[in-house]
């Protein structure tokens, strides 16, 4: 059976994008170990509401690790201490009695804070709109089995496609680079014959958009890969580089 723990939460509170933020401390008592991190915040929010204060704003939705909405930077790690898990999949049994747990929003010029721990990640949509697709309209496509695709390729494409677009890679990167996110989509589509047709156009467009939106350059620290909740590999970044350099030399 899980033990109950008590600890101090230091949470970043910030009214709006332009306003100054600060840490506020909250003491949490007797939290069961099988409470998820977000449920623990629910408990805190319930407390705050009952005291007539405004609850802490944070993004969350599916709470099963797939929607990519949750985005907390806990004790120096995007999505907290576990590997291969999102914030919503962290359970309090990972922490200890008497801990000080610091919770911050994603910090990157590309992700301005909206309020408290909620940030604006629309930049990712813009990168996707720039080219993260295969240009097919609905209908008029060949039979699904018309093009055999080697299982290894399909599996590798799936590894890349597992990206949930949460932005942990950007949050973890000391350069605020979105390379892992961009490369995951570029890789997925470059690996599949359907996507190869416009691979060059895609990689150039997506990368240009990433640069334009103010994300940094990759310096291969691998922090993104280490913190990615879906363990997306930096070999995708190498593939993106290869594709990009190849496309530029072709021009």
């Amino acid at each position: 059976m899980d033990k109950n723990i008590s600890f101090t939460l230091k949470v970043w509170r910030q009214r709006g994008p332009k306003e100054k933020g600060e840490f506020k401390s909250y003491y949490m008592e007797d939290i069961p170990g099988d409470t998820s991190f977000l449920e623990m915040l629910d408990i805190l929010n319930e407390m705050l509401i009952n005291r007539g204060e405004e609850p802490i704003v944070f993004d969350h939705d599916c709470r099963e690790g797939i929607c990519g909405m949750c985005s907390l930077y806990i004790n120096g790690h995007p999505h907290g201490p576990a590997t291969g898990a999102t914030t919503c999949q962290i359970y309090m049994r990972r922490f200890h009695d008497g801990d000080i747990i610091t919770v911050e929003p994603w910090r990157s010029a590309g992700f301005p804070v909206i309020r408290d721990l909620m940030v604006d990640r629309r930049a990712f949509d813009k990168i996707m709109a720039a080219g993260g697709y295969v240009s097919v309209n609905t209908g008029g496509v060949p039979d699904a089995n018309a093009i055999p695709i080697p299982k290894e390729k399909a599996d590798e494409a799936m590894d890349a496609a597992a990206c949930i677009g949460c932005g942990a890679c950007v949050a973890a990167c000391k350069n605020g680079s979105a390379m892992l996110f961009v490369s995951a989509k570029v890789s997925q589509l470059a690996l599949l014959p359907q996507g190869k047709v416009e691979a060059k156009r895609r990689v150039k467009a997506m990368l240009a958009k990433m640069d334009e939106l103010g994300f940094g350059a990759c310096t291969n620290t691998r922090a993104c890969e280490a913190e990615c909740p879906k363990c997306v590999s930096i070999s995708n970044i190498a593939r993106l580089n290869r594709q990009f350099i190849g496309a530029k030399f072709k021009d």
């Binding site: 910090r107 804070v113 990368l207 350059a217 990759c218 310096t219 291969n220 691998r222 913190e227 580089n241």
Partner: protein
């Protein structure tokens, strides 16, 4: 032009210049090793690389590579810092698998650069520069013996080599990753290749240094038959 205005392009410039500089270091290390075995051989190389047009082209080329590498480094660091945003994390932790060097390339680079000036002062200013000004260059092996008989120089150089080792272990692998030469299978191999190769280069430099210090500074006779260069 993509080498100027795209993040990957800028990184490619870093990589290519970096790899070229590693190539130069490999050559330099080989040349130093010659000094261990034969003073004459080393002198011959020094003469060969004197104030000739080809040596000058190579020197200027090296300088340009260096300048580009450094300018891009600062440029990238500046844009990357901007991308990080104004607010910093209050708590940071180094995730598993992230190496020290990869996060401190600029600092390491600056140490390397400062060391380079010391090195140029010790050697290049007394050899190629003098020759260019019409003087008689110092004899290479003599200069080595003199410089590395001093313990503080040895220490200084060893620190410099260590910084270089860190800079290069990340740099070499990182350059290959940036130009797209990596995948899941090759990742571990490249890491190993990078460690082994860079350790060989830096080990070569350090060995020459230490052996000369032992021979000149401490007056030990080390395999005089084999290391004829050490015998004054």
């Amino acid at each position: 032009m993509w080498l100027f205005n795209s993040s990957v392009g800028k990184k490619v410039v870093m990589s290519v210049t970096g790899l070229a500089l590693i190539l130069f270091l490999t050559f330099h290390m080989t040349m130093n090793c010659v000094a261990l075995f034969s003073a004459e051989g080393y002198e011959w190389i020094c003469n060969f690389l004197g104030a000739n047009w080809y040596a000058m082209v190579a020197t200027i080329g090296l300088a340009i590579l260096m300048v580009i590498h450094i300018v891009y480094a600062f440029w990238l660091t500046w844009t990357n810092r901007k991308a990080r945003g104004a607010e910093r994390y209050a708590v940071t932790a180094r995730p598993k698998g992230v190496e020290f060097a990869s996060r401190n390339m600029l600092v390491l680079g600056i140490i390397v650069f400062v060391g380079l000036f010391v090195h140029l002062f010790h050697f290049w200013s007394k050899m190629q520069l003098v020759e260019l000004q019409g003087g008689e260059p110092a004899a290479g092996v003599e200069l080595i013996r003199y410089t590395f008989s001093k313990w503080y120089n040895v220490l200084l150089y060893l620190i410099w080599f260590l910084a270089l080792w860190f800079h290069l272990t990340h740099g070499f692998w990182s350059a290959l990753q940036t130009i797209g030469f990596n995948n899941k299978k090759w990742y571990v191999r490249l890491k190993w290749i990078s460690y082994i190769f860079v350790t060989l280069i830096m080990g070569g430099f350090a060995t020459v240094l230490i052996l000369f210090f032992c021979a000149e500074g401490l007056n030990w006779a080390i395999f005089p038959g084999l290391f004829q260069g050490l015998v004054g």
